[in-house]
């Protein structure tokens, strides 16, 4: 129903809660108890505070390149919130909120951005793939995981995240097409944050919306206000239902904005106007939910401050842990390349160890 009502050819954007935190589609508003709403809110705040700390550490030279999520928290948390433990998430690199929502340990996440591969070694029961940097390439994995679930009759769905820029890559089209042909339970979740580094959405594709691209692959597509956590939640829920009931894949375009830089190496003032950023700041997804919660009497100023402080200190603790435990052992470079080290790797490692030993460095 939802997907028929929001036919992508009509370019309507699905929204439940407006910029003021008012519910404008009460019929579609999910019926969630306060604890759940607060949990969602807290996850968004945790995401924001984690970003802020990371940016701070980065400026202090304690953290490396980092890709901030500011402005996109609703899209990330609202969508991942729908998934069950058994489901899979196949991320790109700007989905911190989704990682946290799925229960990934912040220490691992910071460890990754700290430059240590062990950051990607999540425990078995957290079904998140490692950060995938080659744009759009991981969408294929999401189709494969979903197809394998379907073939093995496992009740699992897969969500995969990517940006507006990613839709230009061949891998985007190929994976959408495959998912369409084999009706895999894949949710293609595009965070359209209006930019691929410096390139604006309009220069990326002439398609009127990204949601419309679904038509080329025979699946439903929907344009959703990405800063409205309820709309995101409901749209993803519907897509997950489709997946679970064998109806196949769905494309969700979460219309949002990257408030921060592309990464800490980027200077967005070179390519976009501050006014635009300010306009979008008014649509901040966290502010919006805060307004809603306060209006509904579910959150006080006091409680809100406490949440922010708690989240900030969780981030701080996690990073401290990482700084103290972030180094790697030499063998780890070699040990995981294959199940067993090849003779070449053994030889290379031993020769190097010998060299270090000769210099008293090991």
């Amino acid at each position: 129903m939802l997907f028929e009502n929001y036919n992508p050819m009509e370019k309507k954007m699905f929204q439940i809660m407006n910029q003021e935190g008012e519910i404008i589609e009460p019929d579609l508003m999910p019926n969630l108890p306060r604890e759940v709403l607060i949990k969602m809110y807290r996850l968004m705040v945790q995401t924001r505070e984690t970003d802020k700390k990371a940016l701070l550490y980065q400026r202090q030279g304690r953290m490396l390149t980092y890709a901030p999520n500011i402005g996109q928290e609703a899209a990330q948390v609202g969508s991942a919130f729908v998934l069950e433990k058994k489901d899979w998430m196949v991320p790109a690199f700007r989905e911190l909120g989704a990682w946290l929502t799925r229960g990934a340990d912040l220490k691992k996440i910071y460890l990754y951005w700290y430059g240590n591969e062990f950051g990607s070694q999540l425990p078995e029961d957290i079904r998140i793939l490692p950060v995938s940097i080659p744009i759009a390439s991981h969408l294929q994995h999401a189709v494969g995981i979903a197809w394998a679930a379907k073939l093995q009759k496992k009740d699992e769905v897969v969500i995969t995240y990517f940006g507006d820029g990613a839709t230009s890559q061949g891998d985007f089209a190929e994976s959408m097409n495959w998912a369409g042909v084999y009706q895999t339970p894949t949710i293609f979740f595009c965070q359209n944050n209006q930019f691929a580094i410096s390139v604006p959405r309009a220069s990326q594709t002439a398609s009127e919306t990204i949601a419309q691209k679904a038509i080329a692959f025979g699946m439903p597509g929907i344009l959703v206000d990405g800063n409205d956590i309820f709309a995101i939640y409901v749209a993803t829920m519907e897509a997950v239902k489709r997946g679970r009931s064998g109806e196949g894949p769905t494309l969700i375009e979460a219309y949002t904005y990257r408030i921060g830089a592309h990464t800490t190496s980027d200077d967005p003032t070179r390519y976009r106007k501050n006014e635009e950023v300010e306009e979008w700041k008014k649509k901040d997804p966290i502010d919006r939910m805060r307004k809603y919660l306060m209006r509904e009497g579910m959150l006080t100023e006091e409680e809100d401050k406490t949440i922010a402080l708690e989240c900030a200190s969780i981030a701080e603790e996690a990073f401290k842990y990482v700084e103290a435990n972030g180094d790697i052992a030499l063998e780890d470079i070699f040990k995981y390349q294959y199940k067993e080290m090849t003779p070449q790797l053994k030889e290379q490692m031993e020769e190097y160890q010998q060299f270090l030993k000769g210099r008293g460095e090991v």
């Binding site: 591969e117 990607s120 189709v143 494969g144 190929e174 995981y336």
Partner: protein, 327 residues
């Protein structure tokens, strides 16, 4: 024992492995209903159903990329590139993910996939149907690269590749798909990946080759023997990781080496072999380890292809040159 050609051995092994382990799935372009353009997957869909042997959309990056996901979610995908010349759209997936997933995730996720592909020239084909670019894969840490040269080896190596928990590029020399038959045991057997095979012992010179070129090498060897030259012949079998030990043992004995491959010369696998030999057997060398290979050109269309692949005559010629080097 059944008598079969290399293609049948591949088909038979896929069948056996699919029976043995229901995590094994086979897919690729035309692989399902039709059973593959070479018929390597013939009847597998009939036997195992459309959930085990599937036709894919025409997209190599997806075939590999989707395979990665299947591997992560409990299956063992054995996928086909219709020809090696069509693997390049999948390079990003192979280099960035297939080869890296294990190390990237420190062992949390692995890609136990096999990527099969017919390769090599000599079948009078259109452009892109005669490629031998094993060297590209051999430079990528995280991949294993295997090439059989006989029906017997094809079975044992393919079974090992499928059971290997690391990703394996399995290249099938299509020139000899149907060239000859051999007795191949019906029961399962494994040939270890990472081990070369001394196909023929000798002492005058070590010849290293693999795949379809093994036939030319063996013909050349007979011709050399007629002249009183006794080459030791090594079938590399695994291109990556290379079995340095077997090679070095042989070179220490013979002091002379000829490497024969069909791929272009520059930066081919021959170069790596020469380097290993230098590094490990320098003082035993009585002549420069030498390569006889395809030219540094694209593989010619049929009217020119007879010039490209080293013939037994050219091999013997080189053998003689090397055996006479400085003597």
């Amino acid at each position: 024992m059944a008598v079969m050609n290399l293609l049948q051995a591949v088909n038979e092994t896929l069948r056996q492995e699919m029976k043995r382990d229901d995590r094994v799935v086979v897919f690729g372009e035309d692989v399902g209903y039709e059973g593959g353009v070479f018929r390597a997957t013939a009847d597998l869909q009939k036997e195992f159903g459309t959930d085990r042997c599937m036709d894919s959309p025409l997209a190599e990056s997806a075939i590999v990329g989707v395979g990665i996901g299947m591997g992560i979610n409990g299956m063992i995908p054995v996928v086909e590139m219709q020809f090696m010349g069509f693997v390049y759209p999948a390079f990003n997936q192979i280099i960035c993910h297939v080869a890296r997933m294990r190390n990237r995730s420190r062992g949390r996720y692995t890609v136990p996939m096999v990527i099969r592909m017919p390769y090599g020239g000599g079948i009078r084909a259109l452009e892109h149907h005669s490629e031998s670019t094993e060297a590209l894969f051999a430079h990528i840490p995280g991949l294993k690269v295997v090439i059989p040269s006989t029906p017997y080896d094809a079975k044992g190596l393919l079974a090992s590749a499928i059971r290997d928990e690391d990703p394996v590029i399995f290249m099938e020399p299509k020139r000899i798909y149907r060239a000859f038959k051999q007795e191949v045991p019906e029961e399962e057997y494994l040939i270890p990946i990472g081990k070369a095979k001394v196909v023929k012992e000798g002492q005058s010179i070590t010849i290293i080759s693999w795949g379809a070129s093994m036939r030319e090498v063996l013909k050349a060897t007979e011709m050399a023997e007629a002249k009183g030259i006794y080459p030791e012949v090594i079938d590399l079998r695994t291109i990556s990781p290379i079995d340095g030990e077997t090679i070095i043992n042989s070179v220490k004995k013979t002091g002379r080496v000829l490497i024969v491959h069909e791929a272009a010369k520059t930066n081919g696998v021959g170069a790596e072999l020469v380097s290993i030999i230098n590094e490990k057997a320098f003082l035993h060398l009585e002549a420069p380890p030498t390569r006889l290979t395809g030219f540094d050109t694209i593989f010619p269309l049929p009217k020119g292809e007879h010039h490209y692949i080293p013939t037994p005559e050219r091999i013997v010629n080189k053998i003689t040159e090397l055996v006479n080097y400085l003597t």
